[in-house]
């Protein structure tokens, strides 16, 4: 086992944090199901009955998980993520997040061209003209695959409307 130097997150922290998040989701579910009655009506359970107890079980099981997590990882030596690993995860997640952000406003095609291009150039170290070629070919191939062949339209933005593709 590695020492704690260079460790960004310990397993202890993550076990507790995850249990808190799942418990919180459970609480939200319980709260949301109060709206339609959680009791036992004339014809069996009311609409909120099922989700309410599901939420309650989530809260209880999360509490138990937190207890186990605290107990088994109390020495706090096991790592969850090292600094180096976190850089790699962020380098992957960041561009992916931007891809979704751009896609939801400018459409999936524009999003994928920008995404492929920037990852290839900034992370893969490719020459820009090579990256442009790959990303454009991918977008065109996807266009023909989905719009023409499968007749499933993908999300398009203002740019496609400008050049008359919709």
């Amino acid at each position: 086992m590695r020492t704690t130097s260079g460790v960004l997150l310990t397993r202890f922290t993550m076990e507790v944090a995850t249990a808190l998040v799942t418990g919180l989701i459970g609480a939200i579910v319980c709260y949301g199901s109060l709206e339609f009655g959680i009791g036992w009506g004339d014809a069996g359970p009311e609409p909120g009955y099922f989700p309410f107890y599901v939420g309650l079980i989530v809260i209880i099981a999360s509490a138990i998980n937190m207890g186990f997590g605290i107990y088994h990882h109390r020495d706090r030596v096991e790592e969850f993520l090292t600094t180096e690993q976190s850089h790699r995860v962020i380098a992957f997640f960041g561009p992916m997040f931007l891809f979704v952000l751009i896609s939801s406003y400018l459409g999936v095609y524009v999003g994928m061209i920008l995404y492929l291009f920037s990852v290839m150039v900034f992370q893969g170290g490719y020459r820009p003209h090579k990256a442009i070629a790959v990303s454009l070919i991918t977008a065109v191939a996807n266009y023909f695959l989905f719009e023409t062949w499968f007749k499933v339209p993908l999300l398009k933005g203002p740019l496609e409307a400008l050049i008359g593709i919709h």
């Binding site: 949301g32 099981a61 999936v108």
Partner: protein, 506 residues
């Protein structure tokens, strides 16, 4: 011989040019998703599912099941050539497959893997063929309480038979139920858990969850570990293929044992992953060449591959017959069945025999085709993994999000896939099982409806789950036993004074 004539009708349906072409496309796409890191069988089927909405159900299921076979084969390929299991169920194949390939016997290892996988799958289809006729006899005995009991049995077995922490499995499953209740309630028509967001009225699709949990989550994990492909160049030499085929009969005992393990684990929701590990362990224990295992022992490839495919195939039977999927991929396919307007369950065998037997017949043809295609295309697919990850990685991400969008053409699904991706990544690292969540999302509504309809039948008395028939009582008792099994075994271990803490946190 009723099954036999049904099967012949099935072959008549499956054996058309269009269907054979679909099988080939499905198998090839399947090998592709099996080979690519981050994409696996459940994910591949989820991505393809939206494209089948307009297809005839028989054609659609042929495409999806063929993809499943292809993905299983693709997973074995990367295990042997790259020491990277493309699927969790092919982890055990790396133990002996990779050493064998390193020693220069890549062709032999691959051929052995594909042939035993083909054998396992064939065994599985024969089991399905034989048992299917028997299943229909149950059909008319099933009403809401029986359905609920079967659902409960499935859920309980995931908690009771899981390898990790039972409470983590419970959290995962219950979250799945909670996500399944979002949207319109099928019985009362109320909008549940939407918190006023109009986009949530249609609910959270299990397909988005699968794409996020399995696809994006797995990709993040792959990235974190720093990707390195130390692949072995595979050139398929025909002579080696025949040599490997000729050595197959020598493994008859391993083949048979592993097929039976696989069939059992596939029908009960143990799943292909558990089956392949168990089969590997048993093959090692009974082998006279124990010390060779892990260093490139052929039987160490035959055993997990046979069990993996036998289980994968058999998982289709409970899905069709009871509406209870035996694996995550089968759960996704079952979701597809419901979208195509079919109701999985025993009545399917009576109402749509063409669909059921067409599917079963296509499984025979699809597996034969898969063995041939995978042998022919291995070098090509292995070459794909040599494309730098800064190109292939973003492309996989794009495919995942396109898949999320095509489910219902909703912008929200693009955004939902992201948190599911993070959830999948964290859950996998902390040992929360993911399959129960997917299962609960697919079955949640059906289980709740069955429960509430039973309550309407009994005017609110829970006794209906024991009084309605001996069938329902038996299933309920079994479910209860499984559900409390972790508790019972924990107490037993505690009484024996063994150190049980490690097992729970694992």
């Amino acid at each position: 011989m009723d099954n036999f004539s049904n099967l012949m009708d099935g072959f008549a349906i499956a054996f058309s040019f269009f269907h054979l072409a679909l099988m080939a496309v499905g198998v090839l796409l399947g090998i592709l998703v099996g080979v690519l890191p981050g994409l696996g069988a459940p994910n591949g089927v989820s991505l393809l599912l939206p494209l089948t909405f307009t297809m005839d159900p028989v054609s659609a299921i042929i495409l999806l099941t063929s993809m499943y076979w292809g993905a299983l084969f693709g997973g074995s390929t990367t295990s042997i050539l790259f020491n990277i299991p493309g699927e969790p169920s092919s982890v055990a194949t790396t133990f002996d497959g990779y050493p064998m390939a390193q020693q220069g016997h890549a062709t032999h290892a691959l051929t052995l893997a594909f042939m035993s996988a083909g054998f396992g799958a064939m065994f599985g289809v024969v089991v399905i063929t034989v048992l299917s006729g028997w299943v229909t006899q149950f059909a008319l005995k099933f009403s809401s309480p029986e359905y609920f009991a079967v659902f409960l049995l499935t859920f309980a077995s995931f908690i009771g038979m899981g390898s990790g922490s039972a409470f983590k499995a419970i959290v995962s499953m219950m979250l799945g139920f909670a996500f399944a209740t979002v949207g319109m309630d099928g019985i009362s028509g109320n909008m549940r858990l939407t918190f006023g967001f109009p986009d949530l009225v249609k609910g959270i699709s299990f397909l988005v969850a699968v794409i996020g949990l399995f696809g994006l989550g797995e990709l993040m994990q792959t990235m974190e570990e720093g990707l390195r492909f130390d692949g072995i160049h595979a050139r398929i030499r025909i002579r080696d293929v025949f040599k490997a085929v000729a050595s197959m009969p020598g493994h008859w005992l391993t083949l048979l044992r592993s097929s039976i393990i696989g069939a059992w684990m596939g029908i009960t929701p143990g799943g292909p992953t558990a089956a392949s590990f168990m089969s590997y362990g048993l093959a090692k224990r009974f082998s006279r060449r124990k010390e060779h295992f892990g260093k490139g022992e052929p039987a160490g490839i035959v055993a997990p591959e046979t069990a993996d495919h036998s289980a994968g195939t058999c998982a289709i039977l409970p899905m069709l017959a009871l509406g209870v999927p035996g694996s995550a991929t089968a759960a996704v396919m079952m979701g597809g069945l419901m979208i195509w307007g079919l109701t999985p369950g025993p009545m399917l065998f009576i109402e749509r025999p063409d669909f059921v037997w067409g599917t079963i017949a296509s499984m025979y043809l699809g597996n034969v085709m898969a063995v041939v295609l995978v042998l022919a295309t291995v070098p090509m697919f292995a070459a794909i993994l040599r494309i730098p990850f800064s190109i292939i990685g973003p492309m996989i991400v794009v495919v995942c999000f396109i898949g999320a969008y095509t489910i219902s053409g909703s912008r929200l699904d693009l955004w939902l896939a992201l948190p599911f991706g993070i959830l999948g990544y964290v859950f996998k690292k902390l040992g929360y099982p993911i399959a129960p969540m997917v299962l609960a999302m697919v079955l949640g509504d059906k289980a709740e409806d069955a429960f509430r309809q039973s309550m309407m039948m009994s005017k609110g008395s829970l006794a209906i789950f024991w009084n309605n028939s001996t069938l329902v009582a038996t299933i309920m008792t079994l479910a209860m036993l499984l559900l409390f099994w972790p508790l019972v075994s924990m107490i037993i271990r505690h009484l024996r004074g063994t150190e049980h803490g490690k097992r729970i946190s694992a």
